[in-house]
Amino acid sequence: MNPHALMRRCLSAAAALLLSAGALAVAAPSAAAQENDTDSLLIATDQEVDTFNPFKRRFVITYNTSLMTYETLVRMGADYEPEPGLATEWEESEDGLTWTFTIREGVEWSDGEPLTAQDVAYTYGLLIENQAIRDWNIDFAGNLVSAEAPDDTTFVLTLAQPSPWDVLTREVFVVPEHVWSTYPDPSADDANQLPLVGSGPFQVTEYETGEFITLEANEGYWDGAPGFDEVVFDYYEESDAAVAALEAGEVDIVSGLNPAQIGALEGQDGITVNNAQGRRYVSLTINYNSVTKDGTEFGDGHPALKDPIVRQAMHMAIDKQELVDTVLDGNGQPATSIIPEIFEQYHWDGGDAVLDFDIEAANALLDEAGYVRGDDGIRTMPGTGEPLSFRFYQHADSTDYATIAQFVSEWWAELGLEITPEAIEQGTLNDLAYLGEFDIAFSGWGVGPNPTEQLGMHTCAVLPTLTDGTERSSENNYCNAEFDALHEQQKVESDPEARAELVREQQRLMYEDTPVIYLYYQNVLEAYNSDKITGMTMQPSEGGMITGQQGYAWAYVTAQPADAEDEGGTPMWVWIAVAAAVVVVAAGAIVFVLQRRKTADERE
């Protein structure tokens, strides 16, 4: 081919590309501006879908889609109180082993088939008889004996051990027998076939990896059709991008924000920032007791950490309020115990027993216990003279943790402790933690409304039997007989107030023993387009959260489209200016290319 013909062709191609890019830039907003008649509730997310199978899902995103697609017998109310869902009423037998539920009449699946007690029995039956599903949910399913439906509105569940709170709060999503019984293996991903059939307010109809999940409203929902026609989870990997999209009206609800983003969004027209109490705590785990059930010690934790005085002194040298103020910009509460403040009834606030931030007092405590400072200012153990030098592991992917680690290390240095902070991959950190090969490590959990889950990780029953770090049920090898006795009591105590009393007592014991230092409870920072959405029910109903609701998707079901026409986005003149500029440039480019071609042709 003639080489400079090639060159010329390249140039024309470039001009054409520029032109079409320009044209696209102008055309796109008009396309985007076209209003379609469906009211969509757009929620920003960054989490992938693991599986839509409600028995096997692990992720928050699929928890939410399951919560909307399916329903439970008992709902979690807006203030975390059990209330009727698919069951209108229920009764526990004297011995606590038999539960009888009355199933709501007139409920239909999203494909129009009626929902009966048979479906419920089928669902619970899967937990008992399907080996994979049973294993997957063994902590609950292991206690189930039988599930029967004597008639279309009665469901009877039999347990091996009384366990009222598990029965009421465990989310067993009722699935349609007429669909699921056609699956060769209900535990496999057959259940991912879209659209999903459920009885909840919205059903998953479409999913594009990394792009969006669409849930369509169930118009025949027994509790009234939801306000929006569809809920769309839209993928944004960077939260800054999600914020920009919210400002541009491209997405309606954004969560997981950081303080800077909240600051930027506050006071903007049409955007409401929701700064709600959260369910998550961040804590420091202290390696003080790496032993197996039969008392074999393992790991290489520093011996000084076995001394409660040292742990208490370290606890006192942390200014939790300062951490909340700087790391969270005030969007959280200093923590005292494992159950966050949001669960008021169960949370133990410490009262007078709380240790205040006081480095001097902490130093005095260590002096008194005989940990003298060496020449380098580092304290040593009374007998052996071993320096108090601790490894401090943090998750490498969190910049918040890095900041906390820096604060805490600086405070502990004032105690005469030598701290080596080290950022470690999540997986490696877990491995080291379960092998007992650390001194202090970060940890953090999102707490559910049933405190048994979290407290259960601190009982002697879950101590490992092997020293190879493969058994990972105990959070920190905490083992206290008194705590365990209280735990067994609270599990079967049916009276909520009496149970809460026991749970608070458990937390008090842990505070005294200090196996873990709870740093703060993190607020949920979210924002939504209040020009478009009204009437969302939060959880808790006063000052609660939108995303991260438990037991029922209150916010998404109750959200109503506001009538206000959205005038957001870019003002028209900007588009006209851009269009004009593109036209001028494009015209110039065309003239230029044509000109060149002409002169070139003439010259040849």
Binding site: A25, T209, A244
Partner: protein, 352 residues
Amino acid sequence: MTDGSSTADGASTEAPSAGRSRPGGRVSSGFGRYLFKHVGGAAVSLLLVLFSSFFIFRLIAGDPIDQLTRERPVSPEERAAMRAELGLDQPMWQQFWDYITGTLTMDLGESFQYRRPIFDLIVERLPATLILSGTGMVLAVVLGFWIGTRAGWKQGTRFDKGHVATGLLLYSAPTFWLGMIIILVFARYLGLFPVNGMRSPSTPPDFWSQAADIGYHLVLPVLTYTAVVYAGYLMIMRSSLLDEIGSDYLTTARAKGLRDDEVRRKHAVPNALLPTVTLVFLALGGVVNGSIVTETVFSWPGLGSLFVQSIFYPDRPVLQALFVLFSSSTILAVLGAEILYWFIDPRIRRSG
């Protein structure tokens, strides 16, 4: 730069494949031998990649089950059930055998995080990557060659100096930082463009609206990508042209009375283009790798951002597959460039 790795040596003026083909200086027995040698080398490289990919990512510490059950208590039975489902209870040699046979038959296994076949994931995300890096690459090559030719021809002029300086300046900027600044200016302050993803869910599903929407989302990422990469092509084209300018035949052409720009277009540019053609070929390998950094800054749903996501998960099967895909695409591109070089550069034919 760190992005679009195969153009990384923009400042060096030699085509990367130029030196490797003449190890002993012995006379070769022709194309067959040349081809055999390079295809063989590429095959060995591919095999090494295939093997190392399995073992490298197995070294990532931690129990995958912990990642799957993040921040949620798990019973030992549940753990065992999950291990069985993910095939982690199999002995290592069995896993290795399954991996090798699977990869060779395009069965890449199942992702930990998505619980879906990896092959489907890649097929889904490949177009996004090709659109972004392909457009960026074409723009960068055209822009770089065009300016490079002009700058080289008018060496030492203000045009030359200005463009070399601008190119170097952009080339020196970290891609991710340039991306953030571009977002800050064009999306945040001016509000002209969307900052995230490839399309908006509200766009009507017909082809033209979708294409327009993608084009609209494409502007800023492509701008970032091109800005950082084009300088490499500019420099190469410029110095390649400078090489030609010194040649005798140009002097002869001028002596024959040809006009200056005719000399350029008819003689200098075609000859200067030849050595750079292989470079463009090399860049094609980079297109599949996409632009890890650009995709991450703009949340572009391509293979690069999938790779980064999988690193943080960590999603071992996906990492394994992507590592093999990325590496083999560059290996094959280099092989292609080498074969092409045979036809372009007569010196190779002489020296083997």
